[in-house]
Amino acid sequence: MNLRIQTYLQSNVKAAPLAVFRVFFGILMLVSIARFWYHGWIESLYLEPAFHFSYYGFEWVKPLGDWTYLLFVLCALSALMVAIGYKYRWAIVVFFLSFTYIELMDKTTYLNHYYFISVLSFLLIFLPANVYFSVDALRARKKGDHVYFGSQVPRWTVDSIKLLLAIVYLYAGLAKLNSDWLVDAMPLSIWLPSKFDIPLLGGLMGERWVHYAFSYFGAGYDLMIPFLLYFKRTRWVAFGLVVVFHVLTRVLFPIGMFPYIMIVATLIFFEPEFHEKVCRVLGRMVRYPQRLLQASLQQKKQRTTSGFKWSLVVVAFLLAVQLLLPWRYLLYPGELFWTEEGYRFSWRVMLMEKTGYAQFKIVDGTTGKWFYVDNRDFLTPFQEKQMSFQPDFILEYAHYLRNHFEKQGHKQVEVYADVKVALNGRLSTTFVDPTVDLASEKESFTPKHWITPFNDEIKGL
């Protein structure tokens, strides 16, 4: 067994899949940043709000005023450098840091696919994605300093991307194995009928059986697609499904660039010959020397896995974390969908129609005088929406209100929240114990006792 692992780790594959992945990843990231800027989201999401919701432990990560634009420029530039493979290692490190910083600035904007980009770009730091079809390779070749550049990379480097993708899909599929999704076809039963005006399918969107068909198709797709992509026999069919699935989600839901990123990412499963073809075609367009794209391009010295030893350790650790992290919810009591303790960073995508309404009552502890807060005075509509049903947001906002009103001269401020939340078509119920003074509750990873228990049961994972 040990020997098999040794052999596996020592074996090489062609570098073309990694190179194609790098090129498309860089381009899509560049487009994403440009799109983000174009829509004015830098202003509306990061510059205009007076207050930002932080991730626990990352309270120091804040928008940088006008420098925030520079951050996006840096992120876009590094994405471009990744695409062309120029000073790749630096570029991908800068990309990972700038992109992740942007995501950490305000958790209101948390999306699984942003997290996916962060994880993926972290992984790419440790992969030799620039040894083939890159400016780095070209320059090294010209200088005759091409020791490590060529057409081969360790097999595990390509496989690590495949494994990460498989984890994303598989866990997204496992998360759908619950009674809301499978028995009640929730939340698709709520979302689909409102899509009555999409072309062709619109008329079907109100049909009950369509909600079930979509639910089961979605769960089945997520669970099976990694395997269908893995086996050569089913690969093209699988890719067809990938395209159909993601285009369909794009038509039905506002999910931005994510479908395109996933469609392109799954190309990594294809044979190296396919990627070499892609490189040759792209190479002709940019006049990249075709001889450097030959499959048999020799490397003066094959970098052995020992040269990648630390990279291998980091990547193995990263993947292990990815495998374990989504299960952390098991450590918390209560219904995951309700408390959301352990919900994020777990590939739980499009699982809930959850809406809330939160009214905060400020009490001056010395005089007993009280009043309600108009959330619009402090939060953007988007922030208010996200805050209204997520306990960690509610607590952070309550602390912000306490500090704000104490600064205004109120003494011993107590903050009480009247929160109503509806989940997957259930009637809204009280979400937070209205008698608990949130100002004196601390944020931590321990269970939040002040969340009112869920008054229903969702069976399943």
């Binding site: 072309p199 285009v247 078509g425």
Partner: protein
Amino acid sequence: MKKLIVLFVGVLLVAVGCSSDDNGNNDPQDISFDRAPLLINWADNTIIPGYIDFSGEVSDLKNAVGAFNGAPSVSNLNGLRSEWLEAYTTWQRISMFENGPAESAGLRFNVNIYPTNATLIEENIANGTYDLGLSSNRAAKGFPALDYLLYGLAASDEDIVAKYEGSEGEAYRNYLRDITDDMKALADQVRDEWQSGFRNTFVNNDGSSSTAAVDRLVNDYIFYYEKHLRAGKMGIPLGVFSGTILPENLEAFYNGEISKQLFIEGLNAVQDFFNGRSYANGTEGASLKSYLNALNTVKDGTNLATLINDQFNTARSRVQALQSFQQELENNPPTAMLQAYDEVQKVVPLFKVDMVSAMSISIDFVDADGD
């Protein structure tokens, strides 16, 4: 397996169809709820008749101002006051439709900003020149300014009439005329725009995007309920947002008696809109209620539309049981009115959480990605 293939092929075809930029309107047939009749009912049976009625009421008001200005007397003052009250009451029926023409005209900002600014009104009258189109003058015109001019100028009716007859009488009479003309112009403008083209724009915008007519109007409607009915007419005077009772922030503060009546009218209008009751004869048509029923939102064995109507009714009966708002606010704390406010408040989560999530309408839509 065969079925699976059929399904996959079907989905494939559909996706190909959808990915092209085909925005043409095809007729969806098996749809659970068609939004077009909803929009038609709103436009033709509620909104447009409401604006027509309002414009007529403002005309009557204008005529009463003319009669009063021609011969200031206590009797003409009372005639003018009752026209003011009628127009003000009608206003409560249409204030929630701050959408389209009303939104671009800023109708609500121009006819019902309160508390009114008495100092500014007196300044304008003393100066004799003022541009009522300026946003800085919004707190010096509309119904609240009339409230001041008809009730707040002096302690007795005779003294009020005397103001319009004295040395500055003409300036007062002119101001009365000008702000009424301003209201008339705005009311007619909004009515005309609805009748001349916006009606069709509105009715044809029957899609499901965040800019579709249903989504927009529902947002405006909920915003009205939360901000103008709940907070403006009750919450702010009660001091629930400031910790201090603010009676001068009551609607029709100088009149002093009708704040509650105007609130109830507003609440009735909101409930009638929810139920799709026709403005003219009260018959119910396509509405948020029928929409919810079509979506079959039965929760805990209770129909959501019924829950909302029940809460409206509870809120109304609690408010009706109160004395006038002015009297209630003399209590400190005004416990009974606070309790009634709580019942009014309870409609908000039913709207903002249960109703919109059932309809998949986003509140204060933000243009950002989801996942």
